[in-house]
Each structure stands twice: as C-alpha cells, then as structure tokens.
Subunit: 317 residues, 2 copies
DNA sequence: ATCATTTGTGACGTGAATTCAACATGGCCC
DNA sequence: GGGCCATGTTGAATTCACGTCACAAATGAT
C-alpha cells in the first residue's frame, strides 16, 4: 500500500524536464520513460494542484502563469535537493567533523602522533579528539569512533582490532620497599591498589594459576579516572597498579616502576579496538577513512619483559 | 515499472518527522505508517545516500554530522515545495495575471465596461486585455481567454457562449448616393467592399434566398485588421461593410450608416464565445472566475431593425 | 533479572504507476 | 487542399516498489 503515494520530487523533475526540452516526447526520451507516462504524470500533477501548468498542442508547449512560477521554483528546489543529498552522501572525499574518543594512554602515545598525517591526507576533515578513559556512549556523545582497551561488551557496535597490549602490575621501588613485594596473588590483600572511578568490564586483575585464571585485586587506596593519573600515582609510590606495557614500558626500563607477580600473568593481554556504530547503514567516509588509517598505521609493540641478572627489567622485541 | 522509483520528497518528509518527533514510532504514528515502514524508509535513504544519517538505539536518536546538515536543508526544501505547490494550486482566490484577447468592437463596448467591477471583485488579479480582431493562437500568445465572434473552428478549445449579434451590411449615405443601393446580393459585384486582412472562418457574406443560404461579397476596396477600422471606413463612405449590430447600432439610428439588403438577411447572426483551453486539466481560478463573470454580465442586446415611414432605421427591443 | 518499548528483518500482498497499443490532433510539405 | 509524420492522449494489462504483518533483537527502566 503506497501510503506515501505522491512523489512530488519526481513530479517536479519530470515537469522541469518537459519545460526545458520543450516537449513531452523529448523529455520522455531523456528520462527513459514513455511519452504516455510523461503525459499522465503531468496530468496527475495538474489535477493534484488543481490548476493547469502547461498549455499543450501537439507542436507547442506554453506555460501558464502558474506553470511559470512553478517551474522557477521547481528548478531551484531540485537544485537544492541535489545539493543536500550530495552533501549528505558519503561522497568521494571524507569531510566533516570526525569525533574520536580514546583512552588517555593509548590516545597520547599512539593516536596523537598519527593525527597530523591523517589530517594532511584528508584536508576536509576536522578532528575532535576526546581523551578520556571513561566509557562513553558513542551515540549520546556523538562520537564517530571510540578506542577501547579490554574485552568488549556485546553490542551492535562494530569493533576493529588495532593491536594488543600486555598488561603489567607494577609498583614504584619506594612503595615496594615499604610494603614488600607480593609473591602470590593472594598477597595482594595486604597491599594497596590504584583503581578506577569508572566501571570496567573486568573487575579484578587476572592471574594464572596452572591453567585456571583467577582474579585478585588489592584494596584500592585511590581511584582515578584515567591511566595516566594511575601511572603518576604509581610512580609516586601510592600503590600497585595494573597498566598497559606500552604505557609504562619506559618507566620499567628506567627502573621507576617495577613489575610484580610476573610469573602469574605472562600472557595477560588486552586487545585494543576501534569501535564504531556500524552495519545498519553505510559508514560516513571520514569514519571509514579514519578506521582504515588507524588499522594500518597503529603498531603496538608488544615486547617481552626480561629480568636481567642485576634485577633490572628490560623490554625485548 | 516504477522507473522513477525514489520519491525523495517522501524520504525527506519522513526523515524530518523522525527528527522532529525524536523517534521512529512516534513519527510513524503521526504519518499513519508502521514503525517498520519508517525504519525501512530511513534505511533506504541512508543506503541510497551511502551514509548514515541517524544513529539510533531503542531509546535515543542522534543525528550524525551528515544528518544534521541534511535535516536543516530538508526542512527548508520541504517548506519551499509546500510554498511552490500552494502558489501554483488554483487556491481559493483567483490571482495572477489574466490575459484576455478580444476583438475590438466587442471588447470596447462590452468587455471594457465590465473590467473595473471584475478587478474590484478579484483584487489579486491583474489584467492584460489585448484588443485585436486577428485570430490569435491562444497558447502561443499565452492568452487565457479569447473572445471570438462567428463560427468556431473545431478544436480542443472550449467555448462558452456569451451572446449573439445580428450582422448588418451597411453603407454610408454618401456612398450609397454615389454607387447606388444594392437590391440583391448579386448587385454586390458592382460595389465596393471593406474586407479583412486576416482569414475569417466564413469567406463571404451570407444571404438567404428562400431557405438556401448563399454567399456573396463585394470586391474589396480596402482590407483592414479590425472592425472599428472597418466602421470608420464605412462611415467615410469607402464602401460596404458587414458589421455587428451592437457595434454600429448608434450609427444606424443616427443615420450615419444605412443597412442594405436587409430583406436577404433578417436572421444573419453570429455567436459570440469566450474561448479557452480546457478540459484536460483544471482551469486556473482566475480564468474560471472571468468566464463566469462574463457569462453572467455580458448582455448583448439584439434589437430588431425597423424602417420607419420616412426611410429612417430604428432599433427596437 | 524481567519487562516494556523501540528498532530491525523476512516474506508477502497490494495498488499505483508505467508500459503497450490504438486513437486523436495538429503542422507541414509537396 | 490532402496525405504524412510527429506528438499528445486514452484505456487496459502488467509490474515492481513499498508498506504491512509477524517475529526477533536490543536497550533502558523498574
């Protein structure tokens, strides 16, 4: 049941074509219709409007007063529709404002360095980069892309894997000197932890015992809203934190932070994904371009941690 | 085969409604559609444009960058369409420029006097009144209405009868004094006639002989393009002319023109019609109004010619 | 965790629009 | 003036897009 029967845009288009070409038949040819179809369409339009637009004999067309006015308006309107749709269409070149949301460590270390090149490649794109570790609602925040670390909640969001990061539990030397170094996950109960103000998908820190994984977490002495803040606290000796290796690698090599319980989580990794609302309708060009760009250029090195003979940790690979 | 498949106007309308009301379901209610229909329509639009316009969860709608822009344009365009159609529609009151074509005598004597009242009744109508006795092509001249005297050629034009006028062959007294008064149509061969520069539907002057009608016409000494010119020539004694009684009635009564051959054409009449292009599509309101106005107010008196005892002619009735 | 509401999807039927064929009309050239 | 070509119009058959229906998925609230 075609409830929305009258397609006024088609009527206008045909009408304009008829006027431009000066005949039903020629218009029909151009529009890949039959003259009959054009005739009926114009008649429909006129009947619907309740007034004659074109006086026609077999040889000549003449516009009525109304036809004149309608023609001019129609041309304008069609042009504007064309423009509106072309503008909205994910036309050729990516353009518009791209809103990206990333957690702070990854954003600072891996996204930001890529931005200049991306913007250079796509001059018509402007970028809003929001760095926050808080989970945001993509739609509510009008973000096009979010970068998330860790397991994803099932949703209609589409994720593109950007890399993997080893996670390490660390403490500052002065902290460890004061509270001791935990030997087993169970020891964490007597330690101080740095936690998050926002809900994470996993609650505790995963540790492997045999082939089982168990979670443990030290009682939090502080909770912060982003990884960089956690790192700063850890550096200051406030407590233990579980952070991404790409984030604190330099601190470990410099000896400012010391990994603990390494034997329990040799394979503790979290995936890094670019997440976007997808699949129901086509993606704006700028979003696709950005995702592709990230996937191609982001290289999260995932070195192994090795302990040297002198007790110092180094990153290999 | 709906070759003109996409009715972009409907898409825009639904899209705008969805945005305005903030939900597919509410939009569907308002548009008397099912939510499913709305969903599909929006999806179609997005697919066609190749980019997502609305990010949607079950509870919230958010416009993408493209959606924003498209919405604003769409609102504007829909408004303009509305305006264009309303303007073109033979809405309520007649308006616009009305082009009327009339022959000169009838126009001067019967149309012009009515014009002020008509314009007063329809303030939004402006009038172009072209007085010419030449047959014009209604469409080519962009005339809405033409007033024609005499038999109509078959055409798709629609005619509304406004009245009838007795036709009289007349000559000025000084002409008759010089060339004599014709007693029979055959005598016309020895007279001088005033003819027309434009083709008329009847060639000669009709005269009744018994119940047969024959045509005769004096050799033209002059040909003019309108009835008023013919009258002037006749008044000046240039020759005989066949003119409408409503036109030269006063001249006859004043004795400036004298009817001849009256016994041969007692019923020589020509109908007066308002003619307009019609019936395929609705008539613009101003045209209908004008036709109706004419039909109602034009009263062509059709008096009988009587000859008094002193040889003078008078008009009766 | 369950429920209520909203959006998305597959299959189906409808009907409005287009086509096809035949007819009317007008213009043009000889 | 008359036949021919091109054009616009009409009536009946056909078809293809669009919306509905029923069901599934997902999301937010209680």
């Amino acid at each position: 049941m075609a409830r929305f029967d009258t397609n006024r845009s088609a009527e206008m288009e045909v009408f304009v074509r008829v006027v431009d070409l000066g005949g039903f038949t020629q218009a029909a040819r151009k529009l890949r219709l039959t003259p009959s179809g054009v005739s009926k369409l114009i008649s429909r339009l006129e009947t619907r409007l309740g007034s004659r637009l074109i006086n026609r004999t077999t040889r000549k067309l003449t516009l009525t007063e109304e036809g004149q006015a309608f023609y001019q308006r129609a041309v304008r309107i069609l042009g504007e529709m064309e423009e509106a749709e072309r503008e909205a269409a994910s036309g050729s070149a990516p353009r518009g404002r791209l809103t990206v949301n990333s957690n702070i460590p990854f954003g600072m270390l891996h996204v930001m360095p890529l931005i200049p090149r991306f913007l250079e490649q796509h001059p018509d794109v402007t970028l809003d980069l929001v760095l926050t570790d808080t989970l945001i609602d993509l739609m509510q925040e009008r973000a096009d892309v979010a970068i998330r670390v860790g397991p994803l909640r099932a949703s209609r969001l589409v994720a593109r894997k950007l890399g993997t990061s080893r996670m390490v539990v660390v403490g500052a030397p002065n902290y460890l000197a004061r509270f001791g170094t935990p030997k087993t996950p169970a020891d964490l109960a007597d330690h101080r932890g740095i936690g998050w103000t926002f809900p994470r998908t996993i609650r505790g820190w995963p540790f492997k015992r045999g082939d089982r994984t168990e979670e443990a977490v030290p009682p939090p002495v502080a909770r912060v809203s982003d990884g960089e803040a956690a790192r700063r606290l850890a550096l200051g000796g406030a407590g233990l934190a579980r952070l991404a290796l790409f984030h604190i690698g330099p601190d470990i090599e410099a000896g400012r932070l010391v990994p603990v319980l390494q034997s329990y989580n040799p394979g503790d990794r979290e995936d890094i994904h670019a997440v976007y609302v997808g699949h129901t309708a086509p993606l704006p060009a700028r979003v696709r371009a950005f995702i592709d760009f990230l996937a191609e250029h982001v290289r999260v090195s995932d070195p192994a941690l090795k302990r040297a003979g002198d007790g110092r940790w180094t990153l290999m690979g």
